[in-house]
């Protein structure tokens, strides 16, 4: 728990400084085309863990929301929370097992508008809340990880505040349960509907 608390403290410190940056450079933001975005995303998540594949087979759909706030000079801060749910079978008895993963991501992103495109690259930290329920055991826990991502916004029209987002993300988030090291992170790609404000 100490680790968890220290991580939380660090996170809040980062958030705090981001907000400071945001308020300091609010004039710059107002000067640009946008101040922030709200995004609905849907994509595919593939966990980089053989045990996961043995039980839940391939990856699955992941969906969530994202929020970004312009900071300064093409940098913005982003927050995303998603949900990933899978149902599978135990390896021998084939009894049902359910898995729910809620990744929460925080990070900083650099983006540079080029015409209708606005490619970006970012990195950040993740909190992976997970739950597995089956006849063997029920587990609820979380772990920390980090990620890097890249993608691009597509402006549908200069007059519309709605963009599309195509992105790729890779996460590293390892946890330990029952003396087993489990890699919850993996590759994610998806599409987002972005509301610009």
């Amino acid at each position: 728990m100490k680790k968890i608390i220290s991580c939380k403290k660090k996170s809040w410190i980062i958030i705090f400084w981001l907000l400071v940056f945001n308020s300091l450079f609010i004039s710059s933001a107002l000067a640009s085309d946008r101040q922030g975005t709200f995004e609905l995303t849907i994509g595919n998540y593939s966990m980089n863990e053989p045990r996961f594949e043995a039980v839940y087979h391939k990856g699955g759909m992941i969906q969530g929301i994202g929020l970004s706030v312009f900071i300064i000079n093409d940098f913005d801060f982003y927050f995303a929370m998603k949900g990933f749910y899978k149902s599978g079978e135990l390896t021998h008895t084939q009894e049902n097992t359910k898995f729910l993963l809620i990744p929460v991501s925080l990070g900083i992103r650099y983006s540079r508008p080029i015409g209708l495109f606005c490619p970006y690259f970012g990195l950040g930290i993740d909190y992976y809340f997970y739950m597995e329920t089956n006849p063997i055991q029920s587990i609820i826990n979380y772990t920390r990880g980090f990620h890097f991502q890249g993608g691009s916004y597509f402006k549908i029209s200069d007059k519309l505040p709605i963009w599309l987002d195509l992105k790729l993300k890779y996460t590293m988030a390892k946890t330990e349960e029952n003396n087993l090291d489990i890699q919850l992170g993996g590759f994610e790609y998806g599409l987002g509907l972005v509301f610009v404000f």
Binding site: V55, G88, T91, H92, T97, F99, I136, L180, I182
Partner: protein, 580 residues
């Protein structure tokens, strides 16, 4: 009785008198001492002190006579001079009778011309005669039985073929009652009183067969108790043999014992039947087949004494007797020095050790006794039993019934069981639960009232269900993303042996740790009979358990856990493990 009036020549009389004495070597005592008169129809009774009382009729040349009485000491060695109780010269030739109550009062009854008379000896005196019945000149064969308390019960018959009875209960005389059926000629009655019942029996004509049969009726001892409907002692009379001259005695249980003479092919036999209510036993012969007449019976301490005359009427070879003890009659014997006899009677001493006889012979009344009462050889009881069910699956409750056991000459007093599995029991009907399977010898031992034993043995096969065949198991690793466990899959095959025994409805799965005894097996689940696999998910580790499976039928019977059931030791089972 007219034959008795024939005068026998003195020389012949002497020969007749001497012969039996020389043959038997024991001396009979002439207690009538009435030369020139014909002494006949003696009856005998013994009072509680053992004194002997004999009555008879002395017939004079007129064909009528007087009623005499004499009493002897308990040994029968000293007798009083004959006492004329009638002094009427009108006494009929047919029978008279005598009895005693527990107060040693003596009751003597006779037929005096046109009346039946009774005199009672009490307090050292003979009371004056009481007229029991009068108005007819054809009374015959009056018999008397007196209860311990002095209640009097009488029977007689009349020439028109009817049997009558009259009783004095509590000092009050009942009216005369006809106890035979009008139209069915009845005669020669006998009567006996017990603790609560009175039985009378007599000869009754069976016009279909044109023979006489022994009929009986009974009543309570109370005042004016009704006589029962008339029944026959031996209605199933396959030989259609004529039955005559019954005598009856009651035992302490008011069980009636009747003897009579029966005409059979080539002679006569004395037959006995006992019973109560309307159920009398199949008659048994208690004498050899020969020429014989007039059986009499007495009972004392539930031992029966019967006597009869053997030989020609008016000149018998001897008085024969038999004793029934422990519900078995002995072999017949003859009374020493009892030749020349016709009518006889028997009575036992209070302790039953001496049997007193009286009879008429050579126109006199004789007395003799025997003390070596023949003891019947005990016939061992016959053990017979059945059990139900005859087989079944353990645990099996079996009911055993030994009601068919019997003792030919007594009663069975003990039933002992050995069930063959270590269990024992007692009682005529008993149940036992077999807790294991196998073939068990069952032994029933019965003991009769004289210590005789009878044994019967049978075998019961107690079945068991069989475990399924080829019980095997495998261990697997079962995993989720975060968790893992071992599971054991247990497999087996149906055992066709059970098809012949019962319908298997489910299988029960057990496990224990390796090295534990069989009693440590604990049930971990059940599956229906069409399933031949079970998964154990409560597995702490691999290679630490042994499994077995039992078969269970619809009644809850379960096959025992036998390691050799499937032909292979459970410990030798293949124990594969598949780990992913």
């Amino acid at each position: 009785m007219k034959q008795k009036m024939i005068k026998i020549k003195p020389v012949l009389l002497a020969v007749i008198l001497i012969l039996p004495i020389s043959i038997f070597g024991a001396e009979s005592k002439n207690i009538s001492n009435s030369p020139g008169w014909v002494s006949t129809a003696p009856r005998i009774a013994v009072d509680p002190q053992g004194d002997i009382h004999v009555v008879w009729v002395e017939l004079y040349s007129s064909g009528r006579g007087d009623f005499f009485y004499s009493h002897g000491n308990p040994d029968g060695t000293e007798w009083s001079a004959p006492l004329n109780l009638s002094s009427s010269n009108k006494v009929m030739a047919d029978t008279c009778d005598v009895d005693a109550d527990d107060s040693s009062c003596i009751y003597a009854v006779w037929i005096d011309d046109d009346a039946i008379k009774l005199r009672i000896f009490a307090n050292g005196y003979w009371n004056s005669a009481i007229t029991v019945a009068s108005g007819r000149d054809d009374y015959y064969h009056t018999h008397i039985s007196v209860s311990a308390g002095g209640n009097i019960y009488l029977v007689w018959w009349t020439l028109n073929g009817r049997v009558y009875s009259r009783a004095r209960v509590g000092g009050s005389w009942e009216s005369i009652k006809q106890i035979s059926t009008t139209g069915r000629r009845s005669k020669v009655p006998s009567i006996a009183v017990g603790n609560h019942s009175v039985y009378a029996c007599w000869m009754q004509i069976n016009r279909d067969l044109n023979i006489y049969e022994i009929a009986y009726s009974h009543r309570g001892t109370g005042f004016n108790s009704s006589w029962s409907s008339i029944d026959r002692v031996y209605p199933n009379n396959p030989g259609r043999y004529n039955q005559s001259h019954p005598g009856v005695a009651l035992d302490s249980m008011d069980f009636a014992h009747i003897v009579w003479s029966s005409l059979v092919n080539g002679g006569r036999v004395v037959r006995y039947s006992g019973g109560t209510g309307s159920n009398f036993s199949t008659p048994e012969d208690i004498s050899d087949k020969r020429m014989l007449h007039y059986p009499s019976i007495d009972g004392r301490n539930d031992v029966l004494y019967a006597c009869w005359q053997v030989g020609a009427y008016g000149n018998g070879k001897a008085i024969f007797y038999n004793v029934r003890q422990g519900e078995q009659w002995a072999e017949e014997s003859s009374v020493p020095s009892s030749g020349g006899s016709t009518l006889s009677d028997v009575a036992a001493s209070p302790d039953g050790k001496r049997i007193h006889f009286t009879w008429d012979a050579h126109d006199d009344i004789y007395y003799n006794s025997v003390s070596d009462t023949p003891i019947p050889t005990n016939k061992p009881p016959k053990a017979r039993f059945s059990f139900s069910p005859e087989t079944g699956i353990f645990p099996l409750e079996v009911s055993f019934d030994a009601s068919a056991s019997y003792d030919p000459d007594g009663t069975i007093v003990q039933y002992s069981w050995d069930f063959g599995d270590g269990g024992v029991g007692s009682g005529k009907i008993i149940s036992h639960i077999y807790q294991s399977w196998g073939t068990f010898p069952i032994t029933l031992t019965v003991v009769d009232n004289r210590g005789g034993e009878g044994i019967e043995a049978k075998v019961i096969e107690v079945l068991r269900l069989f475990q399924p065949l080829n019980i095997e198991w495998e261990t697997f690793l079962d995993e989720s993303l975060f968790s893992s466990r071992y599971v054991v899959e247990i497999y087996w095959e149906k055992n066709p042996k059970n098809d012949e025994i019962a319908e298997i409805v489910f299988y029960r799965i057990y496990k224990k740790r390796i090295g534990e005894q069989n009693f440590a097996y604990r049930c971990i689940g059940e599956v229906s009979s069409d399933v031949f696999a079970f998964r154990d998910t409560d597995v702490e580790d691999r290679d630490i358990y042994v499994y077995t499976v039992t078969s269970v039928d619809s009644e809850g019977h379960e096959s025992p856990i036998v390691e050799s059931t499937s032909g292979t030791s459970l410990y030798d089972k293949s124990n594969k493990e598949v780990l992913k």
